[in-house]
């Protein structure tokens, strides 16, 4: 159980108080996984850190007799010149483990991280993927009542993501999570209840789905202001969520431009994939195949990009492959050929009217 008793927290920016919580009293019942939502700058991370006891309210009181993890996936706590093993030992020591349990913890982290010999090399030569493997493994090696997770589940390659998620699901059988994430999929998967932080108010929802709905509503009502950067999360109609356009493009093996094009010009419809994309805070549109984009001359490439005509296609590829001297003739040639492939750039072209 976590009790918030008349909690106020604000930061002063340019003399103005920016409230994260304003006179909030709230009880989080025992044994429940909490998802925390809010627009960027609403103070989700600060709120999470306050729950975990490493940040403090300006006034009021947060009480709990449970144990809390450090923010999971934290790589900042590592000392670069020390080896992975030494860093793990350090954390085990501050938690007062005896030598035998330290050995056990080291073993389990080493097994989880799967970084081989790097485990005995200085952290500063690690790739960011290796670092997150190590820190994730470290978090899982301890037993806490509450795991504190701040947007760290999207690190690493696909294999590691799956492994981490599975390990986390196992962990959750005995612990609870307090989670901040931009990924609605992860929130839905891990959390039972949700709170949405907004302008100093804490809106509590019994069901995480309702919290997500409220959050989207909030985003629709109030588009992000100039200097407040909105989350760049990209949603896809197949249920995938990506941190940004590049990640989405990588996943579907598209050009990022194709996804941008869909988002900005075609109501989110990506014709090539027959899927709909939308940004965080936007509402998903209906998939409108090529109603909006169709003209007689419209082309579609196997990169997923749509072009108004051959000229546009040529200049698009000429710009991206300056060494290959792409000209209009090349595209025309490709269209006329049997397989519709331009061998120069290895891209297939279709007229949209012919494309199914």
């Amino acid at each position: 159980m976590i009790v918030l008793d008349n909690v106020t927290k604000y930061f002063k920016t340019e003399g103005e108080k920016k409230y994260i919580l304003k006179n909030v009293s709230f009880v989080l019942p025992e044994g429940i996984n909490l998802g925390i939502l809010g627009r960027n700058g609403a103070g989700k991370s600060t709120f999470l850190r306050m729950l975990g006891g490493i940040d403090f309210p300006t006034s009021g009181d947060i009480r709990s007799d449970k144990s809390f993890s450090w923010p999971m996936g934290l790589a900042g706590g590592f000392q670069g010149s020390m080896t992975g093993r030494q860093n793990v030992k350090f954390v085990a020591r501050i938690y007062g483990k005896d030598e035998a349990s330290i050995e056990k913890i080291i073993q389990s982290v080493e097994d989880f991280a799967e970084i081989g010999d790097y485990f005995d090399m200085p952290i500063k030569i690690y790739s960011s993927g290796m670092k997150s493997r190590l820190s994730f493994g470290l978090s899982l090696a301890f037993d806490f009542d509450y795991l504190i997770i701040d947007e760290t589940l999207s690190v690493g390659d696909e294999n590691f993501k799956k492994k981490a998620e599975n390990a986390l699901m196992q962990k959750i059988e005995h612990s609870n999570v307090l989670l901040v994430s931009h990924s609605m999929a992860i929130l839905k998967k891990l959390c039972d209840v949700g709170v949405v932080l907004n302008e100093g108010k804490l809106n509590y929802f019994d069901k995480i789905d309702d919290a997500i709905k409220f959050y989207h509503q909030l985003n629709l009502e109030k588009p992000a202001e100039g200097n407040v950067k909105q989350s760049s999360a990209i949603y896809c109609s197949d249920g995938n969520i990506f941190d940004d356009v590049t990640e989405a493009a990588k996943f579907y093996k598209m050009r990022p431009f194709a996804i941008l094009q869909a988002l900005e010009h075609n109501n989110g419809s990506l014709v090539y994939l027959q899927k709909v994309f939308w940004r965080d805070g936007m509402q998903a549109q209906q998939y409108q195949k090529w109603k909006d984009v169709f003209k007689e001359q419209t082309l579609i490439s196997s990169d997923g990009v749509i072009f108004e005509d051959v000229l546009e296609a040529a200049s698009f590829y000429a710009e991206r492959f300056p060494n290959k001297t792409i000209e209009i003739e090349d595209i025309k040639e490709a269209l006329a050929s049997e397989k519709k492939v331009s061998k120069k750039i290895n891209v297939q072209f279709h007229y949209l009217s012919e494309y199914q």
């Binding site: 000392q79 350090f90 501050i94 938690y95 037993d143």
Partner: protein
Amino acid sequence: MNKRSSVEIFKSVIFALFLREIQTRFGTRKLGYLWMILDPLSMVIIFTLIKTATNNNAMPGVSYPVFLASGFLTYDFFRNVMMGSMNAFSANKALFNYKMVKPFDTLVSRFFVEFLIFSVATMTFISFGLYFGMDMAVKDINMLFLAILWLGVFGFAMGLFFAVITTFYETFGKILQYISMPLFFLSGLFYTVDSLPQMAQKIVLYNPIINFIELIHGSFFLVLNTRYVDYTYMMYWTIVPLFIGLFFYIRSEKKILSL
């Protein structure tokens, strides 16, 4: 997780921080070990050479290199404790994500690290001295130990005080670095207070550090004495910053944590 008492937590955190500090400090720079000896050693050699060159032997019965070494080593210890504390909060900021690590712990562990370095350096110097057959008889070893420890606590008190201030006023650290530069010359490291003209004596004795160094020299060498040492003055300089530092630390701990 079973609950641990706060003393147990404190002990395990200090121990872990201590080992971490040693690993980082000497793990990265291979010359780290060497430097803690070379720094005071070069000073001792330089000033001995100057002394021999000017042929100014004002201290009969005192081995000048030993006189210098005892001063430099303890002064370095003090300075490292004080100056090292100043950036301890910001340098260990990432560690405050672990709930049980408090900013104060980083100061305490640094104190122990500095003490270890001082001890090792001193032992090395003693071995050098023995090898070269220098006279290293100590007049009052209890007083000597007490003086060194007291100097360490004084450094810790000043360090705590400065650490809290520099957290909120960053420029203060820079100012302090300039102020502390002349201290090297004003702390009686290569002269005794006795050897100064009376006017100068009065002025330099306002510096608390020279009182400590004078006490250390006076307890070390048979022919020197401690009659210029003002114990009350030293006590004020230890207790006042310690308590003011603690007072402001306790008041602002949460602020330091959430910086």
